[in-house]
């Protein structure tokens, strides 16, 4: 089998996903195209050698719809000859885009690929694309649909994470993100987003609240109590009858931030690297997707990680760097509990609680963060995983070369 190598990865700073956010004026196609263009600027290769651009995007409607991959590539002057596509596995979309790009290379069906993703959450509202599992009564009833926050609270309730546990983890995320920025750990990957005349719109992650304290978070009202009372708690608890009542622990401060952002990775064969003198920074080791009960929904990353480890013939001891998307505090805490890891070992440079979670881009962002950390520490293996709406999860293992 052909090996797939990651030559480069870039990501945008993340803008607050509201009308006052720094990236609100940037269209999603433009945002992604700036990352795609950066790959061609940073790496001297013939862009027409790219076989396909695979773009993750979750709410693919309106200006984010209609295959954002092809048109972001076109806007980045990849030319007529480079096709593009869009993939959606909810929050793992960009990781799946990277996995798929690698798979094409590994299967011998492509030499050079781009895996990327974008989400402009300030411009295209989350959930705006609808979906049968949300509102078709036949589907939502069978699935046991609940809001993600209810699932996160269910995980906390079932596995015993208190409000304080979750808040403490959130503070950790803020501190680590700040420390990583201050130390310049993201410097090599950040591509500032510019406006039409080349002025910088954003050069840092706008959502961060490094000064937040446990006391500040303690004042926030849990976000899903009312929704739970309305009926979603009943849906969740009826699947987990050993649980008497739901403990609503999540709020805006210990959940991932709503932001705008994009990321991209350049992937190809060893031969392509040699041809264009591109440094192979990491090798795709393995990847896996799993499905779990769609009601608890977000507790799948450990299962995905185990599956990816097994596929690679590795054990958890082989992994040096762990990245698990901080969709909600309880997701990471449960991952650590199930994998028997300490929170000290996971997300060492912070994550989505502090820096934000642009749904369709995060998968590529955290894999890139893991790659940077492998390089910084000189370690070998990294694993990145995300929980996925609808009861799924995706994990990817890479090896630094």
């Amino acid at each position: 089998m052909t090996e797939a190598y990651i030559f480069d990865h870039v990501r945008s700073p993340r803008g607050r996903g509201k009308k006052d956010g720094a990236l609100h004026e940037v269209t999603p196609v433009n945002l992604l195209s700036q990352m795609l263009r950066a790959l061609t600027v940073r790496n001297d290769f013939d862009v027409s050698s790219i076989d396909d651009v695979v773009a993750g995007c979750v709410t693919a409607v309106g200006e984010q719809g209609g295959n954002v991959g092809r048109f972001a590539a076109y806007m980045a002057d990849y030319g007529d000859g480079v096709p593009g596509m869009h993939v959606n596995r909810f929050c793992a979309s960009a990781l799946v885009a990277v996995n798929y790009a690698c798979a094409r290379v590994m299967a011998g069906q492509a030499d050079m690929m781009v895996g990327c993703g974008v989400e402009s959450m300030s411009r295209v509202t989350m959930g705006f694309d609808g979906g049968a599992w949300l509102f078709d009564p036949q589907v939502s009833n069978k699935v046991g649909f609940v809001l993600q926050g209810i699932s996160a609270d269910l995980i906390a309730t079932k596995y015993g994470f208190s409000r304080e546990d979750c808040d403490q983890y959130a503070i950790l995320s803020q501190k680590r993100s700040k420390a990583a920025w201050d130390a310049g750990y993201f410097k090599n990957s950040i591509v500032n987003v510019k406006d039409q005349i080349g002025l910088t719109l954003l050069d840092h992650d706008q959502h961060m609240r490094p000064s937040a304290t446990l006391e500040d978070l303690g004042k926030l009202k849990s976000a899903f109590t009312d929704y739970g009372e309305m009926g979603f708690d009943s849906v969740a608890l009826q699947k987990y009858p050993e649980t008497e009542t739901m403990d609503h622990v999540h709020h805006a401060g210990n959940s991932s931030g709503i932001v705008d952002g994009a990321a991209a990775m350049l992937i190809g064969t060893k031969e392509m690297g040699e041809k264009y003198k591109l440094k192979a920074r990491a090798k795709m080791t393995s990847f896996a997707d799993v499905g779990i009960d769609p009601t608890i929904m977000l507790s799948g990353p450990a299962a995905a990680a185990k599956k990816a480890l097994a596929r690679a013939g590795l054990t958890k001891e082989d992994i040096d760097i762990w990245e698990v998307n901080e969709a909600f505090s309880s997701v990471v805490l449960r991952f650590c509990q199930e994998m028997e890891l300490s929170t000290e070992e996971v997300n060492v440079n912070g994550g989505s609680i502090a820096m934000g979670h642009p749904l369709g881009a995060t998968g590529a962002i955290i894999l890139g963060t893991a790659l940077d950390e492998l390089e910084r520490t000189g370690k070998r293996y990294a694993l990145a995983a995300l929980c996925v709406a609808g009861g799924m999860a995706t994990a990817t293992i890479i090896e630094r070369v």
């Binding site: 609808g130 949300l134 509102f135 939502s140 009926g231 849906v235 008497e244 009542t245």
Partner: protein, 716 residues
């Protein structure tokens, strides 16, 4: 024609007057549909007919909906015919309504009374709807309450008229609307005095009223939004299944079917929409839930209400003057419901203050009803005046019925019986409201035990619909007739059972709580046990209801039972749980705010976590399925034992008593319906397996074994 009187007036207006023969209410039957079909053809084809008006010959009753037996027959069609046959038969009413509204001539519904289910659906198919200004007039689609969905276009036309979100409570809860509400909901066009009803209806036609429904016009839009791109609609359908699950625990499939009929149907043109509705309708009638619910909750309950167990040859024996002995919670409640039914009540207690306190109970309930405008002050005063508190047995003179609800003690009761019989006439009947003491034993104190019977009420009397009538060994037919006539007067549903320890309901109900405690003692999670009861559809979880009944009472009843049965008593693990909770730990239940639950002064009650110290949790907990089975099967087995021992006379009484007496899951149609649905053989075999693991209480009784061997059902 038998169901519809058809005439054409001088103006060329056809008048359809519905009059279902031999029924107090108009209903949709096969013959009604056949006649309606013929009339629609006639109205459509006859050039001299300008339009048609539908009304009812019955005062205050337009139409109550479909004949429930017709629905049972439709569902049974699947056994003899193809699925297409079932669909065609079920679709007939939709076909007719659609034919009616597209025939090109105006149809008007002149709603002169109660207009429910199929009656409302037929009206909604008319181009114009006018209702009389009768304040008692109610309209609605109560189908969900019998486990089915509206099958005559109700899930399509109601949302199209009043908006999807607004219509859902009416469809999902089956709640009624008054004519005024119907008018503001856009369901009817006009309210007029009843003597102008037909004139107004005809005027619509004569003044050239439209013969096209709004949804058949090009630019039609559903008020409040439509389609899956409308944020309001999306919000509505995201929330509705969750809200429904909160209420139903997923045990009532009709609710989701209603949501789907609305969701899918509202996106379709009406011709396709009503077909989709009929498909979801068929799904329900060929399932188990709807037929079981219809049979027990409506057909058989209706028969019980009308006195199916009443001895036929005894003349009517209405109660006129009731002597209520004991003015405690039960006595006060019985006094209230009796006075409300117009019966004079002598409310007697040891001290006049106690008797007066008992009367205050009625006073409070009546004041509340007046305050909520459910009753006039005069009426309330009249009811209250019927209750005479006293401490003097002499006041009982002239009573034709006595109900006794004094302390549960044979001696005390015997004393009260003797004192009463010394005063009342020889033709007075005597009912004891005991819940535990055998009637035959109590009757020994009576000089006329043929007139002595058990009349067992449930608490709170004004809310609980069931009365368990217990025949003592020597109770006569007249006493039974008297008790049933009285039950009918106070509008309760009676079941008739024979004497036994705990009679029927208390005896079977107690197995529910016993098995919960057995499991608790094994280390099964209390929340899992409690939730398995609730999610299985029981009205209340076993521990919640155990706390309500009180662990103290369970202890005393248990002690009495052990004493009574002697060597025959079969111990269970739950005996120790009761001992530990009540005797060792002083946890009486809700009474002292300490039971299986904790009752904090602020906030909701929650299961007492301290229990785990005494019964440590198993590391591997059983599945919900097995816990539910243990809770349900114990009850069902005890019901079968009651049937076997002749405590119960018929499965109908068993199922009605279980649902209305101790809150057995209504969706099942009752324990014996549930056993039939599971399959008697399968149920028997599963019980045999359970008895190996969990003891003799699961051992199938002989009657079950025989039925299983012969492949017989409890309902033939």
């Amino acid at each position: 024609m038998t169901d519809i009187k058809f005439e054409i007036d001088n103006d060329g207006i056809a008048l359809l007057t519905i009059d279902t023969p031999d029924r107090s209410m108009n209903i949709i039957t096969e013959s009604f549909m056949k006649e309606l079909g013929e009339i629609i053809t006639r109205v459509t084809e006859d050039k001299d007919i300008k339009g048609a008006v539908i009304t009812s010959a019955k005062q205050g009753n337009f139409m109550a909906g479909a004949d429930l037996n017709l629905i049972l027959r439709l569902g049974a069609l699947q056994k003899t015919g193809s699925m297409q046959d079932v669909f065609d038969a079920a679709f007939e009413i939709n076909r007719l309504c659609r034919l009616l509204e597209t025939c090109g001539k105006p149809w008007v519904s002149a709603i002169n009374g109660l207009c429910l289910g199929g009656g409302l659906e037929l009206s909604l198919a008319c181009h114009y709807r006018v209702a009389s200004d009768d304040p008692k007039l109610k309209m609605g689609l109560p189908e969900v309450q019998v486990g089915i969905i509206p099958g005559g276009g109700g899930t399509q036309r109601l949302p199209r008229l009043m908006g999807i979100q607004m219509s859902l409570p009416y469809l999902l809860q089956g709640k009624n609307m008054t004519a005024k509400q119907a008018l503001s909901n856009n369901i009817i066009h006009e309210i007029v005095p009843s003597d102008e009803l037909l004139h107004t209806a005809k005027s619509y036609i004569l003044s050239g009223g439209k013969a096209v429904q709004p949804w058949d016009e090009k630019r039609f839009k559903i008020p409040g939004g439509q389609g899956v791109f409308d944020p309001n609609i999306v919000q509505t359908f995201i929330g509705a299944p969750a809200m429904t699950k909160k209420e139903t625990k997923g045990n009532y499939p009709a609710t989701i079917a209603i949501l789907s009929a609305v969701y899918e149907g509202h996106q379709l043109p009406m011709d396709k929409a009503v077909r989709v509705e009929s498909k979801y309708f068929v799904q329900q009638i060929i399932g188990d839930v709807a037929p079981n619910m219809i049979r027990t909750l409506f057909v058989n309950k209706g028969k019980a209400d009308k006195g199916v167990r009443r001895p036929k040859d005894v003349a009517p024996m209405k109660a006129k003057k009731l002597g209520m002995l004991g003015a405690g919670l039960m006595g006060a409640g019985v006094a209230y419901v009796s006075a409300k039914a117009g019966i004079e009540v002598i409310l007697l207690d040891r001290e006049i203050e106690f008797a007066e306190k008992g009367k205050e109970y009625s006073e409070k309930l009546l004041a509340k009803a007046v305050k909520r405008k459910r009753m006039t002050q005069e009426k309330a005063d009249g009811i209250l005046a019927l209750i005479k508190p006293t401490a003097d047995y002499a006041d009982l003179a002239g009573c034709d019925l006595i109900i006794e609800a004094v302390l549960e003690d044979v001696e005390v009761k015997a004393d009260v019986t003797r004192k009463t019989e010394a005063v009342v006439g020889a033709d007075c009947f005597y009912g004891s409201n005991t819940s535990t003491l055998p009637i035959t034993t109590l009757a020994k104190a009576s000089a006329r035990d043929a007139q002595f019977i058990g009349i067992h009420f449930f608490s709170p009397v004004d809310k609980m619909p069931l009365v368990e009538i217990i025949m003592g060994k020597n109770t006569g037919d007249e006493a039974l007739a008297k008790a049933l006539d009285y039950t009918r007067q106070i509008r309760k549903t009676p079941i008739v059972v024979n004497d036994s320890r705990g009679f029927y309901t208390s005896r079977c109900f107690s197995t529910y709580v016993q098995e919960a405690m057995n499991m608790l003692s094994e280390g099964i999670s209390p929340a899992l046990i409690e939730n398995s009861g609730v999610y299985g559809g029981m009205m209340v979880g076993p521990f919640a209801v155990g706390d309500e009944v009180s662990i103290e009472l369970m202890y005393h009843v248990g002690q009495a039972t052990m004493k009574g049965l002697g060597k025959d008593y079969i111990p269970q693990a739950c005996d120790d749980v009761v001992q530990k909770m009540y005797v060792d730990l002083g946890r009486k239940g809700k009474k002292n705010a300490k039971g299986f639950y904790e009752y904090p002064e602020k906030g909701k009650k929650h299961l007492w976590s301290g229990i785990e110290e005494h019964y440590p949790l198993l590391k591997d907990q059983p599945s919900q399925e097995i816990v539910t089975k243990r809770l349900f099967y114990r009850q069902i087995l005890e019901v079968i034992r009651c049937l076997e021992e002749n405590v119960l006379l018929a499965p109908e009484d068993a199922d009605i008593g279980a649902i209305f007496g101790w809150g057995f899951a209504p969706w099942t149609g009752g324990p014996l319906s549930h056993a039939d649905t599971i399959g008697v053989k399968k149920f028997h075999d599963e019980c045999a397996e359970l008895s190996k693991l969990y003891g003799v209480h699961f051992t199938p009784p002989k009657m079950l074994a025989e039925k299983a061997a012969k492949n017989e059902k409890f309902y033939s």
